[in-house]
């Protein structure tokens, strides 16, 4: 088993920089998710890993092997495409057999009619059939092998595409948004199946998605990309709880993190819309900052309790949780808090409330978006 490394990858089409010096190293057997909004370069990066595109600078390594100059066929990698890219004229079984037939049979043996007369091919074909069937059975599509793609549902086609990638036991898997064409229910189901598949096969996997929930729930480590740059590459827990950049904080998590623009004042406090929000930041006075805290970090209290005053705008009940939308500093900022439904029953739209955020939950980002280290003495302003 070998790891997959993309080192210092840059790619531009004319003045349009798709990728800027991106380095991602997946350890042997690791499941790495590349996540970011559309146009962030994640699919280009995957195509470079596959060898379908070529980087202007940087290289691709599989273990100790430099694959940068190799063709896709020489790389021993398999890829699942967003559209599945099944051959529509072949049955599911024939689709899965293609990579094996291409690898194990000669050009002459693959010829129709003539090929079946040549010596030696019978044994190879029987072996291919056996392996296709085993793969199909592990994906529970063995009863579909005689169907053409047009006769299958989206989920079934997706499994055939997975089968075609699995069947030749590659050294690495590349997946380009394989779940985005499935309906919501099937997507959640297939998500766990792919994770289970990865756990069993233990093959290094690079998985591209625009869905942050998919990335967090499936991957060992997540690489967040924006505008052709790698912003953070870390475990799902660190990406969520300890984002290195304001864009990472904004992209990851649903509902979105609360972000408030403010300025450090002379007393090392941060003011939001003129009201003191946190004290003792320890940053240079005058610095423009953005502070962020997750919706579930907000503690809501009735008037008179410790915390900053705000008013309830709207309440959304979502079943397992309730979202409370708040107005802060007379409409200067709006916030969202995530509460257990039982706690939320105390609040009504229009009501005056107080908010409190544990100081450890408050993230401060500088003007360039990068995370600022703050003094451990930072705390929420007592009243406002």
């Amino acid at each position: 088993m070998s790891g997959l490394a993309l080192r210092g990858i840059s790619k531009a089409y004319g003045d349009n920089h798709i990728l800027r010096d991106v380095t991602i190293e997946a350890k042997p057997g690791e499941f790495v998710a590349l996540v970011g909004p559309s146009g962030c370069g994640k699919t280009t990066l995957l195509r470079i890993a596959a060898g379908l595109d070529h980087p202007d600078r940087g290289g691709v390594w599989l273990g100790e092997r430099d694959m940068t100059a190799m063709r896709p066929s020489e790389r021993d990698i398999a890829m699942v495409f967003q559209s599945y890219a099944l051959y529509p004229h072949l049955t599911a079984g024939q689709n899965i057999a293609v990579p094996l037939a291409m690898r194990d049979l000669t050009v002459w043996q693959r010829l129709p009619w003539i090929g079946s007369l040549l010596p030696g091919q019978r044994v190879i074909r029987a072996d291919i059939q056996r392996r296709v069937f085993e793969t199909a059975r592990s994906l529970k599509i063995d009863q579909l092998l005689d169907r053409k793609p047009a006769q299958m549902s989206g989920g079934q086609r997706q499994r055939v595409a997975l089968g075609r990638a699995l069947v030749r036991s590659p050294a690495a898997f590349l997946m380009d948004e394989p779940l985005s064409n499935l309906d919501a229910n099937l997507r959640v189901h297939t998500r766990s199946e792919i994770v289970e598949l990865h756990r069993r096969a233990g093959v290094t996997t690079l998985y591209v998605t625009h869905d942050q929930a998919e990335a967090l729930s499936m991957a060992d480590r997540v690489a967040v990309m924006m505008g052709g740059r790698l912003l953070q590459f870390d475990t799902p827990e660190a990406i969520y709880g300890n984002p290195a950049h304001v864009e990472v904080a904004r992209f990851i998590g649903s509902p979105q993190i609360n972000l408030l623009a403010g300025e450090v004042d002379a007393a090392h406090g941060i003011r939001i819309g003129g009201r003191l929000f946190v004290e003792g930041v320890g940053a240079t006075p005058g610095t423009r900052v953005t502070i962020g805290f997750r919706p579930e970090a907000i503690k809501l209290g009735g008037p008179g309790q410790a915390g900053l005053g705000a008013s309830v705008q709207r309440i959304e009940f979502l079943g397992s949780e309730t979202l409370v939308f708040l107005e802060f500093a007379r409409g200067e900022a709006s916030l969202v808090a995530k509460l257990a439904p039982a706690e939320a029953t105390f609040f009504r739209p229009g009501q005056a409330v107080t908010i409190a955020v544990a100081s450890g939950e408050v993230l401060v980002f500088g003007a360039d978006g990068s995370r600022l280290s703050v003094s451990p003495a930072m705390r929420m302003a007592a009243n406002g």
Binding site: R47, A50, G51, L52, R71, P72, S73, I77, A78, M79, F81, Q82, S83, A85, L86, Y87, P88, H89, V98, P99, M102, R103, V107, R110, K148, P149, A150, R164
Partner: protein, 311 residues
């Protein structure tokens, strides 16, 4: 239906109202389709019926009397040597022109598709024969293939071959005409194939590349050829129809000669109908001609349509 509680009323009247609504909808449908149906009948159906009707008479242009002769014209066709030769020649011509023009058109399209620079230039050059007037170009071919002053034979003489009388010899005339036909059809087929090629999803080629279909040969058989199926069916159909309809080159260059060696169906029909003015007889030939085309098309679609459309 039975679980729906209808408001107190007469169910018979309700179903009557439904029937009225259906009738008025059907009427609207006929009215909307009316203009197209009328034109179809006027421009295609009526002339065809007219030809079939004329083929059962002995009508000759310029004579007043017209008699119903039943199938006599068709029986005469069976023993008409000119017609039988013409049928055979048309078949030979089609068998040469269709596969050659389809394969060369596909080849040209594949080569142009892979070439990035000069793609538009090559496309235009190959398409020129299609837009040029074949009647005018036929005289150029006549010159090119002239046995003594023609450049083709001049070139052959350079390498020591005594070229034949291309358009004058009864052994070579049909092949020469077929080559002119191929020259004219390749460009058109190429353009159709180019359109078919651009419709192939790029991801299939990427998948083929990942699946180790590394050579152009493998990619062609795994992706290009199967995905071009519908295009190929259409191109073959059009090519067959055009080949069976060969007329301009025969009429301008050989007039069916020498010794009826280039007598083809449309030329024979033209001779009977417009030179000998035997309209009834020419109509019978036309009916046979149409029947052959129809049978070819039906066979082709029956045999192939299912196999080239995968959805």
């Amino acid at each position: 239906m039975d679980s729906i509680a209808l408001p107190a009323g007469n169910p018979a009247r309700a179903s009557e109202a439904g029937a009225v609504a259906r009738r008025s909808e059907a009427l609207a449908g006929w009215r909307l389709a009316g203009p197209a149906l009328a034109l179809l009948a006027l421009l295609i159906l009526l002339p065809t019926i007219g030809v079939v009707a004329l083929s059962l008479t002995d009508f000759e242009l310029g004579y007043d009397n017209i008699h119903f002769v039943g199938l006599d014209n068709y029986l005469e066709l069976l023993e008409d040597r000119t017609f039988l030769i013409s049928l055979g020649n048309t078949l030979t011509y089609t068998v040469i022109v269709t596969p050659l023009s389809v394969l060369l058109g596909l080849g040209a399209a594949l080569l142009i598709e892979t070439e990035v620079r000069g793609r538009a230039l090559f496309r235009t050059i190959y398409f020129l024969p299609v837009v040029s007037l074949l009647v005018a170009m036929a005289t150029v071919w006549q010159y090119l293939l002239h046995p003594t002053i023609g450049p083709v034979n001049a070139l052959l003489r350079l390498i020591g071959i005594d070229g034949p009388n291309w358009l004058g010899g009864s052994d070579t005339v049909l092949i020469s005409l077929a080559l002119i036909g191929v020259w004219q059809a390749v460009g058109f087929n190429m353009v159709l194939f180019l359109a078919g090629l651009t419709a192939i999803p790029r991801e299939l080629y990427a998948a083929a590349e990942i699946d180790r279909a590394t050579t152009a040969w493998d990619r062609f058989w795994l992706v290009t050829w199967p995905m071009l199926g519908p295009t190929t069916l259409f191109v073959v159909t059009i090519s067959v129809i055009n080949a069976v309809k060969v007329f301009e080159t025969v009429s301008t260059v050989t007039q069916g000669g020498p010794n009826r060696a280039s007598e083809v169906l449309l030329w024979t029909i033209y001779q009977e109908g417009f030179v000998y003015l035997r309209v009834g007889y020419a109509s019978a030939m036309t009916v046979v001609f149409l029947a052959i085309l129809m049978i070819l098309m039906v066979l082709q679609y029956r045999a192939l349509d299912r196999r080239v459309h995968y959805t």
